[in-house]
Protein backbone atom coordinates (compact mmCIF):
# COMPACT_ATOMS: atom_id res chain seq x y z
CA UNK A 1 0.00 0.00 0.00
CA UNK A 2 2.76 2.32 1.07
CA UNK A 3 4.77 1.44 -1.99
CA UNK A 4 1.82 2.07 -4.27
CA UNK A 5 1.20 5.52 -2.81
CA UNK A 6 4.89 6.35 -3.06
CA UNK A 7 5.00 5.29 -6.69
CA UNK A 8 1.88 7.26 -7.40
CA UNK A 9 3.34 10.37 -5.82
CA UNK A 10 6.59 10.02 -7.71
CA UNK A 11 4.69 9.56 -10.93
CA UNK A 12 2.58 12.64 -10.23
CA UNK A 13 5.68 14.68 -9.48
CA UNK A 14 7.26 13.67 -12.78
CA UNK A 15 4.13 14.25 -14.80
CA UNK A 16 3.34 17.61 -13.28
CA UNK A 17 7.00 18.65 -13.15
CA UNK A 18 6.84 19.43 -9.43
CA UNK A 19 9.90 19.66 -7.18
CA UNK A 20 10.48 16.28 -5.58
CA UNK A 21 10.72 17.52 -2.00
CA UNK A 22 7.23 18.95 -2.09
CA UNK A 23 5.56 15.71 -2.91
CA UNK A 24 7.93 13.17 -1.48
CA UNK A 25 8.49 14.59 2.02
CA UNK A 26 12.23 14.44 1.53
CA UNK A 27 14.61 16.54 3.59
CA UNK A 28 15.58 19.81 1.99
CA UNK A 29 19.01 21.02 2.91
CA UNK A 30 20.06 24.63 2.37
CA UNK A 31 23.68 25.41 3.02
CA UNK A 32 25.30 28.80 3.01
CA UNK A 33 29.01 28.42 2.54
CA UNK A 34 30.50 26.63 5.47
CA UNK A 35 28.59 28.76 7.96
CA UNK A 36 24.94 27.81 8.04
CA UNK A 37 22.82 24.76 7.28
CA UNK A 38 19.04 24.64 7.30
CA UNK A 39 17.46 21.21 7.22
CA UNK A 40 13.76 20.97 6.60
CA UNK A 41 11.67 17.84 7.05
CA UNK A 42 13.87 16.16 9.64
CA UNK A 43 12.54 13.54 12.00
CA UNK A 44 14.36 14.37 15.20
CA UNK A 45 17.86 14.61 16.65
CA UNK A 46 19.79 11.43 17.15
CA UNK A 47 23.01 12.90 18.44
CA UNK A 48 24.33 16.34 19.10
CA UNK A 49 27.80 17.39 20.12
CA UNK A 50 29.93 20.43 19.19
CA UNK A 51 31.43 18.39 16.35
CA UNK A 52 28.63 16.22 15.04
CA UNK A 53 24.91 16.64 14.58
CA UNK A 54 23.02 13.54 13.51
CA UNK A 55 19.47 13.96 12.36
CA UNK A 56 16.90 11.26 11.64
CA UNK A 57 15.20 11.32 8.29
CA UNK A 58 12.38 9.35 6.69
CA UNK A 59 14.72 6.88 5.09
CA UNK A 60 18.04 7.29 6.74
CA UNK A 61 20.31 9.50 8.74
CA UNK A 62 21.86 12.80 7.97
CA UNK A 63 25.12 13.81 9.54
CA UNK A 64 26.51 17.31 9.78
CA UNK A 65 30.13 17.47 10.85
CA UNK A 66 32.09 20.54 11.81
CA UNK A 67 33.35 22.53 14.76
CA UNK A 68 31.53 24.59 17.37
CA UNK A 69 28.12 23.66 16.04
CA UNK A 70 25.22 25.59 17.48
CA UNK A 71 21.57 24.88 16.87
CA UNK A 72 20.28 28.38 16.35
CA UNK A 73 16.69 27.31 16.08
CA UNK A 74 14.80 24.09 16.19
CA UNK A 75 11.24 23.33 15.24
CA UNK A 76 9.19 20.24 14.50
CA UNK A 77 10.13 20.42 10.82
CA UNK A 78 13.21 22.53 10.65
CA UNK A 79 16.68 22.79 12.14
CA UNK A 80 18.96 25.74 11.62
CA UNK A 81 22.59 25.05 12.46
CA UNK A 82 25.46 27.47 12.60
CA UNK A 83 29.16 26.92 13.05
CA UNK A 84 32.18 25.84 11.07
CA UNK A 85 30.63 23.17 8.89
CA UNK A 86 32.90 20.69 7.26
CA UNK A 87 30.65 18.05 5.87
CA UNK A 88 27.15 16.88 5.26
CA UNK A 89 26.63 13.19 4.75
CA UNK A 90 23.55 11.18 4.00
CA UNK A 91 23.31 7.54 5.06
CA UNK A 92 20.53 5.41 3.70
CA UNK A 93 18.48 3.31 6.08
CA UNK A 94 20.14 0.20 7.49
CA UNK A 95 23.63 1.50 7.01
CA UNK A 96 24.40 3.39 10.19
CA UNK A 97 27.46 5.55 10.05
CA UNK A 98 30.58 4.81 12.01
Amino acid sequence: MMRVSRKLRKWTATILDLPQDVVLDLPRITMIGGLQVTVENHRGILHFSPDVLRLAMDNGIMEVTGQDLVIRNIGAEEVFVEGKIMGVQLHAKGKPSS
Binding site: G44, I45, F48, D68, L69, I71, I74, A76
Partner: protein, 392 residues
Protein backbone atom coordinates in the same frame (compact mmCIF):
# COMPACT_ATOMS: atom_id res chain seq x y z
CA UNK B 1 15.86 34.23 18.77
CA UNK B 2 13.01 34.81 16.37
CA UNK B 3 11.64 38.31 16.77
CA UNK B 4 14.03 39.31 19.48
CA UNK B 5 11.80 42.13 20.74
CA UNK B 6 8.97 39.67 21.30
CA UNK B 7 11.39 37.55 23.31
CA UNK B 8 12.47 40.66 25.23
CA UNK B 9 8.89 41.49 26.17
CA UNK B 10 8.06 37.97 27.24
CA UNK B 11 11.38 37.54 28.97
CA UNK B 12 13.86 34.77 28.31
CA UNK B 13 16.51 32.84 30.17
CA UNK B 14 19.79 31.16 29.28
CA UNK B 15 19.62 27.65 30.63
CA UNK B 16 22.21 24.97 31.24
CA UNK B 17 21.15 21.33 31.08
CA UNK B 18 22.67 19.10 33.74
CA UNK B 19 22.60 15.37 33.47
CA UNK B 20 20.56 13.13 31.23
CA UNK B 21 20.76 12.69 27.52
CA UNK B 22 20.72 15.99 25.61
CA UNK B 23 19.42 14.31 22.41
CA UNK B 24 16.44 12.84 24.20
CA UNK B 25 15.63 16.16 25.73
CA UNK B 26 15.98 17.99 22.41
CA UNK B 27 13.72 15.53 20.60
CA UNK B 28 11.15 15.78 23.37
CA UNK B 29 11.28 19.58 23.19
CA UNK B 30 10.82 19.53 19.42
CA UNK B 31 7.95 17.13 19.73
CA UNK B 32 6.24 19.37 22.24
CA UNK B 33 7.06 22.30 19.99
CA UNK B 34 8.91 24.22 22.64
CA UNK B 35 11.01 26.75 20.77
CA UNK B 36 14.64 26.72 21.89
CA UNK B 37 17.41 28.73 20.37
CA UNK B 38 21.17 28.95 20.28
CA UNK B 39 21.56 25.37 21.42
CA UNK B 40 25.25 24.80 21.93
CA UNK B 41 27.72 23.07 24.19
CA UNK B 42 29.61 24.93 26.80
CA UNK B 43 33.34 24.19 27.07
CA UNK B 44 32.45 22.00 30.07
CA UNK B 45 30.27 19.90 27.76
CA UNK B 46 26.90 21.00 29.03
CA UNK B 47 24.08 21.85 26.71
CA UNK B 48 23.07 25.50 26.95
CA UNK B 49 20.17 27.16 25.21
CA UNK B 50 17.80 30.08 25.35
CA UNK B 51 14.17 29.67 26.12
CA UNK B 52 11.36 32.12 26.78
CA UNK B 53 9.97 32.25 30.31
CA UNK B 54 6.52 30.76 29.62
CA UNK B 55 8.18 27.95 27.62
CA UNK B 56 10.65 27.32 30.38
CA UNK B 57 7.84 26.10 32.63
CA UNK B 58 6.60 23.83 29.85
CA UNK B 59 10.01 22.17 29.88
CA UNK B 60 9.54 20.79 33.38
CA UNK B 61 7.60 17.61 32.55
CA UNK B 62 10.04 16.91 29.72
CA UNK B 63 12.98 17.21 32.05
CA UNK B 64 11.38 14.79 34.46
CA UNK B 65 10.94 12.40 31.54
CA UNK B 66 14.62 12.38 30.58
CA UNK B 67 16.08 12.69 34.05
CA UNK B 68 17.85 16.03 33.61
CA UNK B 69 17.87 19.21 35.58
CA UNK B 70 18.29 22.77 34.44
CA UNK B 71 20.22 25.65 35.84
CA UNK B 72 19.45 29.19 34.81
CA UNK B 73 22.56 31.08 33.73
CA UNK B 74 21.09 34.50 33.12
CA UNK B 75 17.74 36.22 32.90
CA UNK B 76 16.80 38.81 30.32
CA UNK B 77 13.79 40.77 29.23
CA UNK B 78 11.03 42.96 30.50
CA UNK B 79 9.52 40.76 33.27
CA UNK B 80 12.88 40.51 35.05
CA UNK B 81 13.56 44.18 34.58
CA UNK B 82 10.15 45.01 36.03
CA UNK B 83 10.86 42.74 38.97
CA UNK B 84 14.13 44.56 39.55
CA UNK B 85 12.32 47.89 39.22
CA UNK B 86 9.71 46.87 41.75
CA UNK B 87 12.55 46.37 44.20
CA UNK B 88 13.74 49.95 43.57
CA UNK B 89 10.59 51.58 44.83
CA UNK B 90 11.83 55.16 44.87
CA UNK B 91 12.94 54.92 41.27
CA UNK B 92 9.66 53.43 40.15
CA UNK B 93 7.85 56.04 42.20
CA UNK B 94 9.88 58.76 40.51
CA UNK B 95 8.97 57.45 37.10
CA UNK B 96 5.33 57.37 38.03
CA UNK B 97 5.54 60.82 39.58
CA UNK B 98 7.12 62.16 36.41
CA UNK B 99 4.36 60.82 34.21
CA UNK B 100 1.79 62.10 36.68
CA UNK B 101 3.41 65.53 36.86
CA UNK B 102 3.58 65.75 33.08
CA UNK B 103 -0.09 64.90 32.88
CA UNK B 104 -1.07 67.33 35.61
CA UNK B 105 0.96 70.19 34.17
CA UNK B 106 -0.54 69.58 30.76
CA UNK B 107 -3.99 70.15 32.22
CA UNK B 108 -3.11 73.72 33.20
CA UNK B 109 -3.60 76.74 31.02
CA UNK B 110 -0.11 78.12 30.60
CA UNK B 111 -0.64 81.04 28.32
CA UNK B 112 -3.48 83.41 27.52
CA UNK B 113 -2.82 85.46 24.41
CA UNK B 114 -4.79 88.25 22.89
CA UNK B 115 -4.84 88.52 19.15
CA UNK B 116 -6.41 90.92 16.76
CA UNK B 117 -5.90 94.62 16.37
CA UNK B 118 -8.11 96.13 18.99
CA UNK B 119 -8.52 99.46 20.72
CA UNK B 120 -9.80 97.76 23.88
CA UNK B 121 -6.96 97.71 26.39
CA UNK B 122 -5.42 94.29 26.86
CA UNK B 123 -5.87 94.50 30.64
CA UNK B 124 -9.59 94.91 30.21
CA UNK B 125 -9.85 91.85 28.00
CA UNK B 126 -7.70 89.84 30.39
CA UNK B 127 -9.84 91.03 33.28
CA UNK B 128 -13.00 89.92 31.49
CA UNK B 129 -11.37 86.59 30.65
CA UNK B 130 -10.31 86.18 34.29
CA UNK B 131 -13.87 86.69 35.41
CA UNK B 132 -14.91 83.96 33.00
CA UNK B 133 -12.24 81.71 34.45
CA UNK B 134 -9.66 82.02 31.70
CA UNK B 135 -6.31 82.78 33.30
CA UNK B 136 -2.91 81.23 33.53
CA UNK B 137 -2.58 78.23 35.86
CA UNK B 138 -6.29 77.53 35.57
CA UNK B 139 -7.26 73.87 35.27
CA UNK B 140 -8.19 73.16 31.68
CA UNK B 141 -11.18 71.03 32.60
CA UNK B 142 -12.72 73.86 34.59
CA UNK B 143 -13.03 75.90 31.43
CA UNK B 144 -16.22 75.94 29.49
CA UNK B 145 -16.17 75.05 25.84
CA UNK B 146 -14.84 77.66 23.44
CA UNK B 147 -18.20 78.60 21.91
CA UNK B 148 -19.91 79.50 25.19
CA UNK B 149 -16.73 81.17 26.47
CA UNK B 150 -16.57 83.46 23.48
CA UNK B 151 -20.26 84.25 23.89
CA UNK B 152 -19.86 85.17 27.55
CA UNK B 153 -16.76 87.23 26.80
CA UNK B 154 -18.68 89.09 24.13
CA UNK B 155 -21.33 89.95 26.73
CA UNK B 156 -18.64 91.31 29.03
CA UNK B 157 -16.99 93.34 26.30
CA UNK B 158 -19.75 95.17 24.46
CA UNK B 159 -17.17 97.23 22.56
CA UNK B 160 -16.09 94.18 20.60
CA UNK B 161 -18.00 93.09 17.54
CA UNK B 162 -16.77 89.52 17.68
CA UNK B 163 -14.72 87.47 20.11
CA UNK B 164 -13.20 84.10 19.33
CA UNK B 165 -11.64 81.76 21.86
CA UNK B 166 -9.29 79.09 20.64
CA UNK B 167 -7.68 76.54 22.95
CA UNK B 168 -4.62 74.80 21.60
CA UNK B 169 -2.96 72.50 24.02
CA UNK B 170 -2.03 74.55 27.04
CA UNK B 171 -2.45 77.97 25.46
CA UNK B 172 -5.59 79.94 24.84
CA UNK B 173 -5.80 82.68 22.27
CA UNK B 174 -8.58 85.24 22.40
CA UNK B 175 -9.23 87.05 19.14
CA UNK B 176 -11.03 90.35 19.48
CA UNK B 177 -12.48 92.31 16.58
CA UNK B 178 -13.62 95.85 17.35
CA UNK B 179 -16.94 97.22 16.29
CA UNK B 180 -16.68 100.57 14.55
CA UNK B 181 -18.52 103.39 16.26
CA UNK B 182 -19.30 106.91 15.10
CA UNK B 183 -17.00 109.55 16.49
CA UNK B 184 -18.22 111.22 19.63
CA UNK B 185 -19.10 114.86 19.31
CA UNK B 186 -18.36 117.14 22.20
CA UNK B 187 -21.36 118.18 24.23
CA UNK B 188 -22.38 121.72 23.47
CA UNK B 189 -24.90 123.94 25.17
CA UNK B 190 -26.94 126.72 23.63
CA UNK B 191 -24.81 129.77 22.90
CA UNK B 192 -24.38 133.06 21.09
CA UNK B 193 -21.50 134.06 18.94
CA UNK B 194 -20.20 137.44 20.05
CA UNK B 195 -17.51 139.80 18.83
CA UNK B 196 -14.01 139.29 20.16
CA UNK B 197 -12.90 142.87 19.45
CA UNK B 198 -14.18 146.05 17.90
CA UNK B 199 -14.45 145.47 14.17
CA UNK B 200 -16.25 146.13 10.91
CA UNK B 201 -18.03 143.06 9.60
CA UNK B 202 -16.89 141.93 6.16
CA UNK B 203 -18.62 138.58 5.94
CA UNK B 204 -21.13 136.71 8.07
CA UNK B 205 -22.31 133.17 7.45
CA UNK B 206 -24.70 131.68 10.01
CA UNK B 207 -24.99 127.93 9.97
CA UNK B 208 -27.25 127.86 12.99
CA UNK B 209 -28.87 130.68 14.93
CA UNK B 210 -29.99 134.10 13.82
CA UNK B 211 -27.50 136.67 12.48
CA UNK B 212 -27.84 139.97 14.30
CA UNK B 213 -25.42 142.05 12.23
CA UNK B 214 -24.83 142.68 8.57
CA UNK B 215 -21.88 143.36 6.33
CA UNK B 216 -20.21 146.72 6.92
CA UNK B 217 -21.80 146.98 10.39
CA UNK B 218 -19.59 148.33 13.10
CA UNK B 219 -19.49 146.10 16.18
CA UNK B 220 -18.03 146.61 19.60
CA UNK B 221 -16.36 143.99 21.72
CA UNK B 222 -19.02 141.69 23.24
CA UNK B 223 -21.80 142.48 20.73
CA UNK B 224 -23.93 139.49 19.70
CA UNK B 225 -23.14 138.52 16.13
CA UNK B 226 -25.19 135.35 15.74
CA UNK B 227 -27.90 134.88 18.36
CA UNK B 228 -28.70 131.52 19.82
CA UNK B 229 -32.26 132.53 20.70
CA UNK B 230 -34.93 131.91 18.07
CA UNK B 231 -38.48 133.29 18.18
CA UNK B 232 -39.95 136.30 19.97
CA UNK B 233 -40.25 137.05 23.68
CA UNK B 234 -43.13 134.68 24.23
CA UNK B 235 -42.26 131.71 22.05
CA UNK B 236 -38.57 131.16 21.94
CA UNK B 237 -36.03 128.42 21.80
CA UNK B 238 -32.29 128.43 22.39
CA UNK B 239 -29.98 126.74 19.93
CA UNK B 240 -26.27 126.20 19.49
CA UNK B 241 -25.38 128.99 17.14
CA UNK B 242 -22.73 128.23 14.61
CA UNK B 243 -21.22 130.22 11.87
CA UNK B 244 -18.32 132.23 10.59
CA UNK B 245 -17.96 135.95 11.07
CA UNK B 246 -15.06 137.82 9.51
CA UNK B 247 -14.32 141.42 10.30
CA UNK B 248 -11.73 144.13 9.79
CA UNK B 249 -9.75 144.71 12.95
CA UNK B 250 -7.14 147.41 13.56
CA UNK B 251 -3.98 146.60 15.45
CA UNK B 252 -1.42 149.19 16.46
CA UNK B 253 2.08 147.83 16.65
CA UNK B 254 5.29 149.25 18.07
CA UNK B 255 8.46 147.91 16.52
CA UNK B 256 12.07 148.28 17.62
CA UNK B 257 14.64 147.25 15.05
CA UNK B 258 18.39 147.57 15.87
CA UNK B 259 20.81 148.95 13.28
CA UNK B 260 23.62 146.64 14.36
CA UNK B 261 23.03 142.90 14.57
CA UNK B 262 25.38 140.33 15.93
CA UNK B 263 25.52 136.77 14.66
CA UNK B 264 27.69 133.86 15.63
CA UNK B 265 29.44 131.99 12.86
CA UNK B 266 31.62 128.92 12.87
CA UNK B 267 35.07 129.45 11.40
CA UNK B 268 35.54 125.78 10.54
CA UNK B 269 38.54 125.38 12.84
CA UNK B 270 38.02 122.50 15.21
CA UNK B 271 39.88 120.35 17.66
CA UNK B 272 39.09 116.99 19.23
CA UNK B 273 39.78 115.68 22.70
CA UNK B 274 39.02 112.25 23.97
CA UNK B 275 38.62 111.08 27.53
CA UNK B 276 38.33 107.82 29.38
CA UNK B 277 35.48 107.75 31.88
CA UNK B 278 35.71 105.78 35.09
CA UNK B 279 32.82 106.36 37.41
CA UNK B 280 32.17 110.08 37.35
CA UNK B 281 35.74 111.05 36.52
CA UNK B 282 37.17 111.65 33.08
CA UNK B 283 40.79 111.12 32.15
CA UNK B 284 41.97 113.01 29.11
CA UNK B 285 43.75 110.77 26.64
CA UNK B 286 44.38 112.89 23.60
CA UNK B 287 44.07 116.46 22.42
CA UNK B 288 46.68 118.00 24.74
CA UNK B 289 48.60 121.12 23.94
CA UNK B 290 46.19 122.79 21.61
CA UNK B 291 45.19 126.33 22.44
CA UNK B 292 41.61 126.88 23.41
CA UNK B 293 39.62 129.33 21.34
CA UNK B 294 38.35 132.68 22.47
CA UNK B 295 34.74 131.78 21.74
CA UNK B 296 33.83 128.22 21.02
CA UNK B 297 31.11 125.66 20.99
CA UNK B 298 31.79 122.22 22.37
CA UNK B 299 29.89 119.14 21.33
CA UNK B 300 30.31 116.20 23.67
CA UNK B 301 29.44 112.60 22.96
CA UNK B 302 29.66 109.97 25.69
CA UNK B 303 29.88 106.26 25.01
CA UNK B 304 29.25 104.15 28.06
CA UNK B 305 30.26 100.51 27.91
CA UNK B 306 27.26 98.24 27.93
CA UNK B 307 26.78 94.69 29.01
CA UNK B 308 23.51 93.63 27.38
CA UNK B 309 21.15 96.20 28.81
CA UNK B 310 23.22 97.31 31.79
CA UNK B 311 25.32 100.41 31.57
CA UNK B 312 28.77 99.96 33.04
CA UNK B 313 30.65 102.75 34.83
CA UNK B 314 33.31 102.85 32.10
CA UNK B 315 33.33 104.50 28.77
CA UNK B 316 34.83 107.06 26.48
CA UNK B 317 33.94 110.67 25.94
CA UNK B 318 34.76 112.75 22.89
CA UNK B 319 34.79 116.52 22.80
CA UNK B 320 34.58 118.34 19.52
CA UNK B 321 35.40 122.00 19.96
CA UNK B 322 34.46 124.40 17.18
CA UNK B 323 35.79 127.91 16.96
CA UNK B 324 33.20 130.65 16.77
CA UNK B 325 33.47 134.24 15.59
CA UNK B 326 30.94 136.92 16.23
CA UNK B 327 30.07 138.92 13.17
CA UNK B 328 28.56 142.33 13.44
CA UNK B 329 26.33 143.58 10.69
CA UNK B 330 25.45 147.23 10.28
CA UNK B 331 22.19 148.00 8.52
CA UNK B 332 20.89 151.21 7.09
CA UNK B 333 17.72 152.59 8.73
CA UNK B 334 15.71 151.55 5.65
CA UNK B 335 16.92 147.94 5.92
CA UNK B 336 16.22 147.88 9.63
CA UNK B 337 12.73 149.22 9.01
CA UNK B 338 11.96 146.55 6.41
CA UNK B 339 13.23 143.76 8.67
CA UNK B 340 11.20 145.12 11.57
CA UNK B 341 8.03 145.33 9.49
CA UNK B 342 8.52 141.78 8.22
CA UNK B 343 8.83 140.48 11.72
CA UNK B 344 5.81 142.46 12.86
CA UNK B 345 3.69 141.05 10.05
CA UNK B 346 4.48 137.46 10.87
CA UNK B 347 3.86 138.06 14.57
CA UNK B 348 0.58 139.75 13.71
CA UNK B 349 -0.67 136.87 11.59
CA UNK B 350 0.36 134.33 14.17
CA UNK B 351 -1.70 136.19 16.76
CA UNK B 352 -4.79 136.79 14.61
CA UNK B 353 -5.47 133.19 13.63
CA UNK B 354 -4.92 131.07 10.60
CA UNK B 355 -7.46 132.62 8.22
CA UNK B 356 -6.31 136.18 8.90
CA UNK B 357 -5.22 138.36 6.01
CA UNK B 358 -3.47 141.73 6.28
CA UNK B 359 -5.54 144.15 4.23
CA UNK B 360 -3.58 147.33 4.77
CA UNK B 361 -0.75 148.74 6.86
CA UNK B 362 0.24 152.28 7.67
CA UNK B 363 3.33 153.61 9.38
CA UNK B 364 2.14 156.15 11.87
CA UNK B 365 5.45 157.18 13.36
CA UNK B 366 9.10 156.50 12.62
CA UNK B 367 12.35 157.75 14.12
CA UNK B 368 15.89 156.52 14.71
CA UNK B 369 17.34 156.71 18.19
CA UNK B 370 20.23 155.03 20.09
CA UNK B 371 21.10 152.76 17.18
CA UNK B 372 17.51 151.56 16.84
CA UNK B 373 14.71 152.29 14.45
CA UNK B 374 11.43 152.82 16.34
CA UNK B 375 8.22 152.34 14.38
CA UNK B 376 4.53 152.51 15.16
CA UNK B 377 2.46 150.70 12.56
CA UNK B 378 -1.29 150.31 12.13
CA UNK B 379 -2.36 147.03 10.57
CA UNK B 380 -5.78 146.47 9.12
CA UNK B 381 -6.42 142.73 9.37
CA UNK B 382 -9.37 140.72 8.19
CA UNK B 383 -9.84 137.94 10.70
CA UNK B 384 -12.41 135.77 12.37
CA UNK B 385 -13.96 137.74 15.22
CA UNK B 386 -16.57 135.32 16.51
CA UNK B 387 -16.25 133.88 20.00
CA UNK B 388 -18.70 131.63 21.81
CA UNK B 389 -20.70 132.80 24.80
CA UNK B 390 -23.09 130.38 26.49
CA UNK B 391 -26.67 131.46 27.09
CA UNK B 392 -27.17 131.73 30.83
Amino acid sequence: MKGSWVATIRGYVWVKLIGGEPEVFLNAATREQVPLWNISFSPAGQLTFGVSVPDFFRLRPLLRGCGSRTRIISRHGLPFRMARLSRRKTFAGGMLAFVLALFLLSTFVWDVRIEGNTAIPEEKILQAAREEGVYTFQWSFRLQDAASLSQRLALRLPEAAWIGVDKRGTSISITVIDSTKPEKTALEGPRHLVAKTDAVITRIIAENGRPKVERNDRVRKGDILISGVLGDERNNKTVISKGKVMGLVWHEYRIESPLVTKSKNLTGVTQDRSYLIIGNRALQISGYGEPSYEISQTRTTVHRAQLWKRLLPFGTMKEHELEVVELEKVRTPAEAKLAGLEQARSEMLAKAGKDAVIKAEKILHEHTENGKVLLTVLFEVEQSIAIERPIG
